[in-house]
């Protein structure tokens, strides 16, 4: 009798927990409980840091034990680059000032400056279908949802959730991500949709397919006003015609090498922050 009773309560518990999970799933799907995810992200962040420790230590150690010769070589190279870039920056400044003057005389909106912050990517995997990474900067460093992340001079992705000391960035190869782009050669617009495969996106909504050639560079178009325009996104790898549904798919390789990235640049555009307020 007692045995039967305990099995009965177990079944009741089971249905209780199933109900609770389904409730959570629906609420999360409707984005009704962002606080729950933030709380869980805060709780699980130490675990992610723990898993990242071996990678970050190897990284630091290899840098520590680099030979003096190699370091001085690198240093020299960087010095050379800084010289070149400072010269270019000077030119850019004069052009920007000129642009500002012209805009003032035309009475159009002023261009705003951008600011950047370097964030470390934690070496932690998500499940196989999502391309998302955790970074070590959060709302305490003024990171916000929808913020754009760059890698060098190419687009990396955007911030999708934040907690005080960390944030999740969705890469442009995530199946749920799409980037408005345009062909640098023909200026035709398209949408770069993530495929879930590393370094691969597919280009959709291309009007003139015959015009697309292998090796074409697609850059961000700035449509949708989320991504800054004219950053390289992907290079067309192959065009594949499928006779079954008479559709042509265009796959492209991203300019960002997601396998190698350990750091990314967060960008603050003054325009975005004013829009948010």
């Amino acid at each position: 009798m007692h045995q039967k009773d305990s099995s009965h309560t177990r079944t009741l518990h089971f249905f209780g927990f199933v109900f609770l999970s389904v409730l959570l799933l629906t609420a999360d799907h409707k984005r009704a409980i962002p606080a729950a995810r933030t709380a869980l992200n805060i709780v699980t962040y130490p675990l992610k840091v723990l898993v990242d420790i071996p990678y970050s230590t190897t990284y630091t150690l290899t840098r520590f034990f680099t030979s003096h010769k190699k370091l001085s070589q690198e240093n020299e190279e960087l010095r050379r680059l800084v010289n070149i870039y400072s010269a270019r920056d000077q030119k850019y400044r004069s052009i920007a000032a000129q642009n500002q003057r012209l805009r003032e005389s035309l009475k159009t909106a002023k261009m705003f400056d951008e600011s950047f912050l370097l964030a470390n990517i934690l070496e932690v995997d998500t499940d196989r279908f999502h391309h998302r990474v955790t970074i070590n900067k959060g709302t305490q460093d003024l990171v916000f949802e929808g913020q754009i992340a760059l890698f060098g001079n190419s687009i990396y992705g955007q911030v999708i959730s934040t907690s005080p000391h960390s944030a999740t960035v969705m890469q442009i190869t995530d199946p749920k991500h799409s980037t408005p782009v345009r062909n640098a050669r023909t200026n035709e617009t398209a949408l770069a949709v993530g495929t879930g495969k590393t370094n691969t996106v597919s280009l959709e909504h291309i009007e003139n397919l015959e015009d697309v050639k292998t090796g074409d560079l697609y850059i961000s178009s700035g449509l949708g006003r989320l991504f800054p325009p004219d950053f390289p996104v992907a290079v067309v790898q192959k065009k594949h015609y499928n006779p079954a549904d008479s559709l042509t798919t265009v796959t492209a390789q991203t300019v960002t090498d997601f396998k190698r990235s350990r750091e990314l640049l967060l960008i603050w555009q003054a325009r975005n922050t004013t829009e948010k307020q």
Binding site: F17, L20, L25, H29, L40, T44, L47, V51, F129
Partner: protein, 162 residues
């Protein structure tokens, strides 16, 4: 009759934590497809051997943490693990604990159901995986089961009594 006791209190939570860590350790892309469902295997192990001590709360919290770590919908893996726990406890009473073929069958049913539920949820949230590689972890979980079972066996002691 063998009486099993845990080697230390919190052994179940400890093993689930290790399984969670193993689930997010960075692997090369081609290996990632084959990552066994470590947490699922741990939940099955405790469900079979300690149906009283391990509870739905363990499974549920481990699932929520995995959802946060993997960035999946909140409650997706929690639901999966609660179902696994239910099946493991119910079927664990009916199998011989030392028969390996029965173990494999149980793991197959548990992980299979869990992945099917996950697939439905992914389908509803429009995240559906595109190819058959989705099912690879089922195979690798079966292969990893003897190892997980053997290691987790060290976390409890068998008191032999007549």
């Amino acid at each position: 009759m063998e009486q099993l006791t845990l080697r230390f209190p919190g052994a179940i939570s400890f093993s689930l934590l290790i399984a969670l860590i193993l689930s997010i350790v960075h692997l090369p892309d081609s290996w990632q497809t084959w990552r066994p469902e470590w947490v699922a295997l741990a939940v099955i192990h405790w469900g079979i051997l300690f149906p009283k001590e391990s509870s739905y709360i363990h499974a549920f919290i481990a699932g929520l943490l995995l959802d946060a770590l993997w960035g999946s919908s909140l409650g997706q893996h929690a639901l999966g693990f609660v179902i696994i726990h239910f099946i493991a406890v119910r079927m664990g009473e009916r199998i011989m604990p030392k028969t390996f073929s029965q173990h494999f069958f149980l793991v197959f049913i548990c992980v299979g159901t869990y992945m099917l539920v996950n697939l439905w949820i992914l389908g509803i949230t429009k995240d559906k995986p595109s190819d058959w590689s989705y099912w690879f972890p089922l195979l690798s979980s079966l292969l990893a089961w003897p190892l997980v079972h053997a290691i987790l066996n060290h976390l409890h002691i068998a008191n032999k009594s007549l």
